[in-house]
């Protein structure tokens, strides 16, 4: 479970507290079951990464050391207990933190006060900002790169940048098209495999049934950056000692123009994905599909209980027929904070969490970052809400074919809020998405400059 997911539920989706709570309970129960299953089948596993972990443990210390761990996830408590049991020389003290935004504020404050945890969960998009403020440790010199082979290059690239390795990837968020198959059949729609087909169907569906929409354009910068990532745009590209901003690159504008046409023609709704209204529209059949990441499964399940069993999972639509290019939205890493007194023990724990089969198995509602995690029983579990599909292969392809080269900027938090603010003008028709992109680029140029970071347009 990525921090992102907790965030969506606890902070942004205030209308869905109750369903989220229920989903978590179910998740916890399933998690316990998975833990039992993994315990039964764990003896056969001895991956290279766990061997590395063992070596690190020995190198770390001969007397037990205590390290602290902050994370808002769901499967952490069980994992920490397991780790403590199997690692007598390291004792991890786990603090469950509130949703993402509050967690980061707490971490920033702790860094400022010189008292951060040893290990903490940070999402990919927030990581460069923590590197920028100097709060986390470059773990390259403690041997973090020995586990690089356990991850896809596109994922490792998210934690290895700017001449350092800053965290160990734990969860990712591969994408798919989640759609209401019952209503697709009712309206005679085929599952769109390309964006061109998606647009044609959005138009014909809405023309024939004015109260029904194929999907909604989500006024969330992160959702949009997921689409940009897939199209091969790179908003932040290191270029020597400066960032080259790519908001207005041809690939980036292609996505904006595409969605603007759908918005201008009123073929899609424009709204925030975390509102009670959005939930209601998924529930009553106003919205038929949702292109988004894997963690959305549980989100839609709690938002639209009336449509249980009607939904299915299809591969994310492509720009070129038969293509395999994907972006992501969400996922988190575990970083070691710079004031730690036990960097080796901290790294051992962070590596274990992400690469040890027993730690990966109970992961609920998130996708394991390590390639070895793609075959866990949890991932291939049939989902009753999604017509008993599991989407295993769809998400596996989306994970393995996620485009490498995407970077989150050093001021991503500001970009995200600026972008979400500016979506208001797009929603009410006084701006367009291409305009949104160029505004955002200009805002980033000036805000990066104001903190001394070099960037060019």
């Amino acid at each position: 479970m990525g921090i992102r997911n907790i965030n969506e539920h606890n902070l942004e989706a205030f209308g869905q507290r109750r369903p989220a709570g229920r989903a978590m309970k179910v998740g916890a129960a399933v998690g316990a079951a998975a833990l039992v299953m993994s315990a039964c089948g764990s003896s056969k596993t001895a991956s290279p990464s766990s061997a590395t972990t063992q070596a690190n443990t020995k190198a770390a210390s001969s007397t037990p050391v205590t390290i602290s761990f902050w994370s808002p996830g769901l499967s952490e408590a069980g994992n920490v207990a397991l780790f403590n049991k199997t690692h007598p020389d390291i004792h991890v003290v786990y603090t469950k933190t509130p949703g993402a935004a509050a967690t980061y504020a707490k971490m920033e404050d702790a860094i400022k006060a010189g008292d951060p945890p040893d290990v903490g969960s940070i999402e990919y998009d927030e990581l460069p900002q923590f590197v920028r403020t100097g709060g986390i440790l470059n773990i390259a010199k403690y041997g973090a790169n020995s586990v690089e082979k356990d991850f896809n290059a596109s994922i490792w690239g998210q934690v290895d940048f700017g001449g350092g390795t800053w965290a160990i990837p734990r969860n990712t968020a591969p994408v798919a098209l989640l759609y209401n198959a019952k209503l697709f059949a009712q309206y005679g729609l085929a599952v769109p495999t390309t964006w061109a087909q998606f647009a044609t169907e959005a138009q014909s569906l809405h023309a024939a049934h004015p109260s029904v929409y194929l999907t909604s354009f989500n006024t969330s910068s992160s959702w949009f950056s997921m689409l940009e990532w897939q199209a091969g745009a790179v908003w932040f590209q290191p270029d020597g000692n400066q960032w080259k901003l790519g908001f207005t690159s041809p690939a980036s504008e292609k996505v904006a123009t595409y969605w603007q046409q759908l918005i201008s023609a009123h073929d899609v709704l424009v709204e925030s994905p975390y509102t009670p209204q959005h939930a209601q529209q998924l529930n009553n059949g106003t919205l038929l599909s949702y292109p988004g990441p894997q963690w959305l499964e549980s989100s839609i399940e709690s938002q639209a209980p009336a449509t249980s069993g009607d939904w299915k999972i299809a591969p994310f639509p492509q720009w070129t027929p038969g293509g395999h290019a994907y972006g992501q939205w969400g996922g988190s890493t575990d970083a070691v904070f710079k004031d730690t007194k036990h960097p080796n023990a901290a790294l051992t724990f962070a590596t274990w969490l992400s690469t040890n089969p027993q730690a990966i198995a109970p992961l609920i509602g998130g996708y394991p970052a390590a390639t070895s995690g793609q075959t866990t029983a949890t991932l291939s579990k049939k989902l009753p809400f999604f017509s008993n599909e599991s989407g295993t292969n769809i998400f596996k392809t989306a994970q393995n074919d996620t485009l490498a080269g995407w970077n989150f900027g050093p001021d991503w938090g500001v970009m995200k809020t600026d972008g979400t603010n500016d979506f208001d003008a797009v929603a009410n028709g006084s701006s367009t998405l291409p305009q949104w992109l160029s505004d955002l680029q200009n805002q980033q140029l000036s805000s990066l400059k104001s903190v001394g970071i070099k960037a060019i347009g």
Binding site: G15, A105, G134, G413, F423, D424, V451, G452, K454
Partner: protein, 272 residues
């Protein structure tokens, strides 16, 4: 103490270099944070917004509180205690909870009220969470919560008016209406002034209601009010020094307005 710390912080700046992925340096920056606050526009647009809000909301709330206080004080109402309690009750509801509850009432597809209003002639496009309307939706929440509190202050103050004074006015032939407007309202002037100052400070510090409604309305931005702007800069952008400058600027403006109102009131008090 906290203000002193914020003032000191606001004169420093944390800077990166190059890609911004090395350890940043913090150095004295003079007034440059303030220059940015005062020229960037977000701060002033927030201040303008809360002032516009205050000009409408504060008088409306206080007038409502005054009317309720006078009615309850007049002795014309049976079960006065129950009314007094029920008007005050909203104040006891935590601000966040109140905003969430009102959020549901404003939300078009969930609200029992919005649908009814939309059926009234000329109100088909009623969107309490849209564009400019959301500011007044916020004002409505604050009025609902705050009027009862002001009313209690006014009632407490009304009860300190000497009975002889009211009797004398009555003997002189003054109607209840004239007693209320000419005697009672004037006698509780200081209480009115006090709640005016509190209300103005509260207005400039507007935070909770818009913060909660932001998750329902795209029109509530991350710099909607000066307080939300400071919050965003500190906790989203991690620019603590700049956020300190925003806070100090807001504190200065609050001082100016509070003293202006205080001056205005004491001048009027002097005339009487």
């Amino acid at each position: 103490m906290p203000i002193g710390y914020a003032v000191v912080e606001s004169f420093y700046k944390t800077r990166n270099s190059g890609l911004g992925l090395g350890v940043p340096t913090t150095s004295f920056a003079g007034l440059s944070n303030f220059t940015e606050v005062l020229t960037k526009g977000y701060f002033w647009s927030g201040v303008e917004r809360v002032l516009l809000y205050g000009i409408v909301q504060v008088p409306v709330k206080m007038a409502l509180a005054m009317i309720l206080a006078l009615i309850l004080d007049s002795g014309l109402v049976r079960l006065g205690r129950i009314f007094r309690f029920s008007y005050f009750l909203p104040y006891a509801v935590p601000g966040v909870i109140a905003a969430i509850l009102w959020g549901f009432l404003y939300y078009p597809s969930l609200s029992p009220v919005v649908g009814v209003i939309r059926h009234l002639p000329g109100a088909g496009g009623f969107t309490p969470l849209g564009g400019s309307a959301v500011l007044w939706s916020i004002a409505n929440i604050a009025t609902w919560a705050g009027a009862g509190f002001d009313m209690l202050i006014f009632i407490a103050s009304l009860q300190t008016i000497p009975v002889e004074l009211i009797e004398a006015a009555r003997v002189d032939g003054a109607s209840e209406w004239r007693i209320a407007t000419r005697v009672k309202v004037r006698m509780i002037g200081p209480a009115v002034g006090l709640s005016a100052i509190f209300s103005i400070i509260g207005t400039l510090q507007l935070f909770t209601e818009p913060k909660v409604l932001a998750s329902l309305s795209t029109s509530v931005t991350s710099h909607y009010t000066p307080n939300i702007y400071a919050y965003t800069e500190a906790l989203v952008a991690g620019r603590y020094h700049y956020a300190a400058a925003v806070s100090v600027s807001l504190a200065l403006i609050t001082f100016v307005f509070s003293f202006a109102v205080l001056g205005f009131i004491s001048k009027r008090g002097g005339l009487q």
